[in-house]
Amino acid sequence: MRIHCPHCGPRGHDEFVHHGDAAPRRPQADAPDAAFHDYVYLRDNPAGPYRELWFHAAGCHSWLVVERDTRTHEIRSVTFARGDA
């Protein structure tokens, strides 16, 4: 599996650290416990297209959002995570 880092170009995925689903958003500090439980622990875990965070640890140290199909490992897009909200 190769991830096309927008800064460094195509690199083997072992240069990157996977950090899970890109969808969860940290709730406001005064949100109920249930919202934090959902944010920290619950995942959609889809079989199919999936937006996830990768960190280019052995490269440019960018946080990336990778859209990848979990059934085939095909990568459809890679963008910088900054500005992704």
Binding site: H13, H18, D33, Y41, L42, R43, E52, T70
Partner: protein, 416 residues
Amino acid sequence: MRYSAFRLFTEALRGNRGWQPAWRDAAPRRAYDAVIVGGGGHGLATAYYLAKVHGLRDIAVLEKGWIGGGNIGRNTTIIRSNYLLPGNTPFYEWSLKLWEGLEQDINYNAMVSQRGVLNLHHNDAQRDANVRRGNAMRLQGVDAELLDAQDVRRMLPFLDFDNARFPIRGGLLQPRGGTVRHDAVAWGYARAADRLGVDIIQNCEVTGFRIQGGAVTGVETTRGPIAARKVGLACAGNSSRVAALAGLKLPIESHVLQAFVTEGLKPLIPGVITFGAGHFYISQSDKGGLVFGGDIDGYNSYAQRGNLATVEDVCEGGMALMPMIGRARLLRSWGGIMDMSMDGSPIIDHTPVEGLYLNAGWCYGGFKATPGSGWCFAHLMARDEHHPVATAYRLDRFAAGRVIDEKGQGPHPNRH
């Protein structure tokens, strides 16, 4: 038909014409008392113990493919109960006890072989951790022996003891650990359940749940609707997808774990060896192949195949532990899809839907748990109460702050 040495002998004399299929290829009926979703090891074991221990007779196991085609046939066949935490140890020890009596119980040769599981340590900190783990195990009635480097050298002279980076200082041995022929576990439980009247329905995928007033009334399948008051999910790897059909979101991610087997070699490795400096474990099958594995690939996957970076990482672990493994040719490798839970421990519990029960989140410890999982899940489904050795495996433990994080990694499924 009961299997025995006598039966084998008489069948041999009659040209083996008397053998019958080990289980019926059942067609789905319209209603059952209990339906198990997933015809893997855990689902079949659950059905068997529901029938045998709790006396239910009207049970169906629904399998989307063929039985034994999932993770029960995609593991490294290791059994052990060398866990540290109080929520885990009694459960896995009960499972190991069930393994010890399994073949007589189900009248099927599953080749249960208690050859020992040895966890090596390579420095003082790891030795301390193994001492702690061994003491915790012994306090809970599990066998554990601390070995020093000389003990290990006598047992396994071929290891790279004086490796400059990862010298072997000793290990923690669980003599009752070992391996089991994994396919035979699925077949043996299927046959035993079938003999108690359980319908094993293959090529029958669940496509939805019938829920009325917050209670389950049945399932929709590719072979038509089936009514049931109790439905148990035992489909690890795909738990999130199936649970989503009932409107549930789980604390689970699906990840791929690879395993490898070499060409057949003469008897070499007596038991199971795990490398302490990396993640690598190895045993030798009865056919002679070296069976080994390591970490999960680390990203969400439903693909049942992994990537080369993990192959390289696993093989590096093997080379550091026993350099001669580099002369063996790799015969094949495969990937299985794991339910990686948020704390690395499983879930055996009710769900918010009445009558719908969940058995999930086995991470990559599911095979050894097969009998215990079936036993405790059957107990929960039949009596609506948790089995005493599985009270910690609650779905609400994440919200309640009672996680069972054996490795202390936090809510990151790919690190457990």
